[in-house]
């Protein structure tokens, strides 16, 4: 249901970014990039309190005419950004949350692999298949 899913590292470079192929990928890359600022803003706003109190799900980062961008941050400052089609109004917040949770779980599985060095691009097939399953509803 998502149109583009990206995993951004702590240093704000992408570890994994994938969009539906028919669209102009560059546009999505750009959107994800600009959303990073919003993510940072949200983190710092909440960051005054204890880090533990900060919720991982950031919610809607910003809406555009065609798309909505949602964000999620882990405790190690790895960010997940998801771009969703605005016309897909059936998507509710809970569903977005569950999608992020799945992403997070898959990401931790990738991390558990000792052959994966944190900071490398993610090349796990399991992760790919999970992301594909999330994007597959878009026709």
């Amino acid at each position: 249901m998502a149109v583009c899913i990206a995993v951004i590292a702590k240093e704000n470079y992408p570890l994994y970014i994938r969009s539906t192929p028919m669209e102009n990928e560059l546009k999505f890359h750009y959107m994800v990039h600009t959303s990073l600022d919003v993510v940072d803003e949200k983190i710092s706003a909440m960051g005054k309190a204890l880090v533990d109190q900060r919720e991982l799900y950031l919610g809607l980062l910003y809406p555009t005419e065609d798309y909505k961008v949602y964000g999620y941050v882990t405790n190690s400052k790895v960010k997940f950004v998801m771009v969703v089609d605005s016309s897909n109004t059936a998507l509710r917040d809970n569903e977005i949350r569950s999608m992020f949770r799945k992403l997070h779980n898959s990401y931790t599985d990738v991390m558990c692999n000792p052959f994966y060095n944190p900071g490398d691009p993610i090349q796990s097939r399991a992760f790919d298949s999970m992301v594909t399953s999330m994007m597959i509803q878009v026709c």
């Binding site: 558990c112 692999n113 000792p114 052959f115 090349q123 796990s124 097939r125």
Partner: protein, 648 residues
């Protein structure tokens, strides 16, 4: 070269085969032989041993082959007679080759005579068989190559160099063997030259008789084939034992093959080998190997990192970053398969699933097999290593049960000397990876409840200490060199503490001397006094007994200062009981720095004393000032009273 071969032939004139003929004939023979044994897969392209009797071309396929040559039946009969099969009773390689040669001769129009085969002949033509043969050989070539590479891999994992030596030895051996003469009594001997390495050249040069037993799935059976190297070189001892078990069980394997997913099936020998490797990394088979340890191990296989990453993904079913024994076997098997050219599957094959593996291979089998294989391999070096490791552990072990562990290790040494020992690699004691801590932690309770032989328990406990102390919080990190060693480990000789690095410089105020404590006591007390005097001056009370209250505070402060100073020192340095003991073992380095501190502190003290003196003076003068003020007021009053009231 072929002349010698001909010498071994029992049925008449020497058989001269050209290169092409040899190749073709051996292939055909293999096909027939392979078909004879019933396996769907091809046998090796080499001929089989005659003596074993297990690898002869059965009459059926041979007859088919001959019929495919499209010769009349009588001719075939004649050929069969001539080649000696009827006499001998079976189609050995010799007979088969002669027969083929005769067929070629007849096909080119020569009479069916022995003499016909002496001349150069084209290859015999078989109508269908050739196609089959070619088709067949896509696979066996690969598989043979792959089979041969497995020995590379398995020995690679343990010793790269040995393998190279072995290969060379094998290569030197092979030319000496005559093509058609069979070495009847040699042990299962594989030609360890992979196709990719110019195998064809070797084959055309010499033919080797090799045992056949290949069922379809068994390309991977032969990992124990590395043991074939055994005769030539000095393989690992457990592989030597596997040779024996393999040759014995070779026949048994033939019966096992009727499953799909053949490359993904783990055989007994493979399983044993994997379990051995697992034990070398992690002595407790019911525990697991951490990610970093496994990574180091699998990296030796020289596969690329993405592939290893993918293999890990497949095999670590629960994604916990560690491999249990079935997961480890699955991963190892996948690596072996990949090394042999099999593409990695999309998903974990059913025969490699952990549940399947656990069900298929129950535990006790491992132990007895391993014990048998290891009982003969207890080099003294390993024991020495063990002892060293145990000593190291006694140093490193800082946890709850150091004493019982040490007693146990004392006993363990005795136990281990007399019994078997795991081939523990050196990296086990030297690997201080903290994941191993969790492993050892988890392994400890398990080993306790693990009602195995005492040897195993002893070994496990002997293994536990090598890991670094899993509870660093209990003791201050700096204190590791200090008293706690002496407190908790009376058995540790004093030299051990000498081995440890000297503790880093303690934070300021070690104050071993009383004077410093006094000064420190004085200073705060003086400060207190100053502040108290300041408080006193404001209400304008006369505080005559200056000396007394200050002295009391001094005394009062002195004791708490003493205690607090003492407490501070252990809390910063040792963080535990016995503050008195902590004062003693100050190394000289600290004393030097403390002398400097003393100098500074004396200066500070003097300044503070001067300060205090001045403050006292100040307060006294202020008191005098007050008195003077009051006198003045009194005098003014008197003056007022005495002055006449008249204001004229």
């Amino acid at each position: 070269m072929e002349a010698a071969a001909g010498g071994g032939c029992s049925s008449g004139p020497p058989l001269l085969l050209s290169e092409g003929e040899q190749q073709c004939y051996s292939e055909l023979f293999a096909r027939c032989a392979g078909a004879a044994s019933g396996g769907p897969g091809p046998g090796p392209p080499e001929a089989a041993r005659v003596a074993s009797g297990a690898a002869t071309a059965a009459a059926g396929p041979v007859a088919d082959l001959f019929r495919a040559s499209q010769l009349p039946a009588e001719t075939l009969h004649q050929i069969t007679e001539l080649c000696g099969a009827k006499r001998v009773g079976y189609f050995g390689p010799t007979q088969f080759y002669i027969a083929l040669k005769l067929i070629a001769a007849v096909q080119s129009g020569l009479p069916v005579r022995i003499e016909s085969i002496k001349c150069e002949l084209p290859l015999p033509r078989f109508m269908m068989s050739k196609n089959d043969g070619e088709v067949r050989f896509g696979n066996p070539a690969e598989l043979h190559g792959s089979k041969v590479q497995i020995p590379y891999l398995t020995t690679e994992k343990n010793s790269f160099k040995r393998m190279d030596d072995d290969e060379k030895q094998q290569e030197t051996q092979s030319p000496t063997m005559s093509p058609l003469a069979s070495p009847p009594s040699s042990p299962p001997h594989y030609q360890r030259v992979p196709l990719s390495h110019g195998y064809s050249k070797l084959r055309s040069g010499t033919e080797q008789m090799h045992p056949v037993p290949y069922e379809g799935r068994q390309p991977l059976v032969q990992p124990e084939g590395p043991s074939s190297v055994g005769p030539g070189a000095k393989p690992l001892r457990h592989q030597a034992s596997l040779i024996r078990s393999f040759s014995v069980e070779r026949e048994l394997q033939d019966n096992n093959s009727s499953y799909p997913d053949e490359p993904w099936r783990i055989t007994e020998e493979q399983r044993e080998y994997y379990v051995n490797q697992f034990r070398s990394l992690q002595p407790d088979p019911s525990s697991f190997i951490s990610g970093s340890v496994a990574k180091n191990f699998f990296t030796k296989s020289k596969l690329s990192i993405p592939e290893l990453s993918y293999i890990w993904e497949l095999s670590d079913a629960d994604c916990d970053g560690a491999l249990t024994l079935p997961e480890f076997c699955a991963a190892f098997h996948l690596i072996v398969a990949r090394k042999n050219g099999y593409p990695l599957p999309e998903g974990l094959p059913p025969t490699l699933q952990p549940e399947y593996l656990q069900a298929a291979f129950p535990k006790p089998k491992w132990e007895c097999a391993l014990f048998d294989s290891y009982s003969e391999s207890v080099p003294i070096s390993q024991q020495a290593r063990d002892l060293n490791r145990m000593e190291k552990t006694s140093v490193k072990d800082m946890t709850d049960f150091p004493v019982p562990t040490q007693d146990m290790t004392g006993d363990d040494k005795q136990a281990l000397k007399s019994t078997l020992n795991e081939a523990l690699p050196k990296d086990v004691p030297e690997d201080p990876a903290t994941p191993k801590d969790s492993n050892s932690l988890k392994a400890r309770p398990r080993s306790r409840s693990y009602s195995s032989t005492s040897i195993e328990e002893a070994m496990k406990r002997g293994e536990d200490p090598p890991t670094p102390p899993p509870r660093p919080q209990k003791t201050h990190s700096r204190a590791s060199s200090l008293d706690l060693n002496k407190v908790f480990q009376p058995s540790v000789p004093a030299t051990k503490s000498g081995l440890l690095p000297p503790p880093p410089a303690l934070p300021p105020r070690p104050c071993p001397s009383q004077s410093e404590q006094v000064s420190e006591a004085e200073v705060p007390s003086q400060l207190n006094r100053a502040s108290s005097q300041a408080a006193e001056s404001s209400p304008a009370k006369k505080d005559v007994p200056y000396s007394q209250p200050p002295s009391k505070p001094i005394r009062r402060k002195f004791r708490p200062e003493n205690q607090s100073a003492e407490n501070q020192e252990p809390s910063t340095a040792v963080g535990g009981p016995a503050p008195g003991a902590s004062v003693k073992p100050h190394p000289t380095v600290q004393k030097q720095s403390s002398k400097q501190k003393k100098a500074i502190q004396t200066a500070i003290r003097k300044n503070k004393e001067a300060n205090a003196v001045l403050a006292r003076l100040n307060s006294e003068l202020q008191q005098q000032l007050k008195e003077v003020h009051q006198e003045r007021i009194a005098l003014e009053n008197q003056l007022e009273q005495l002055r006449p009231v008249t204001v004229l």
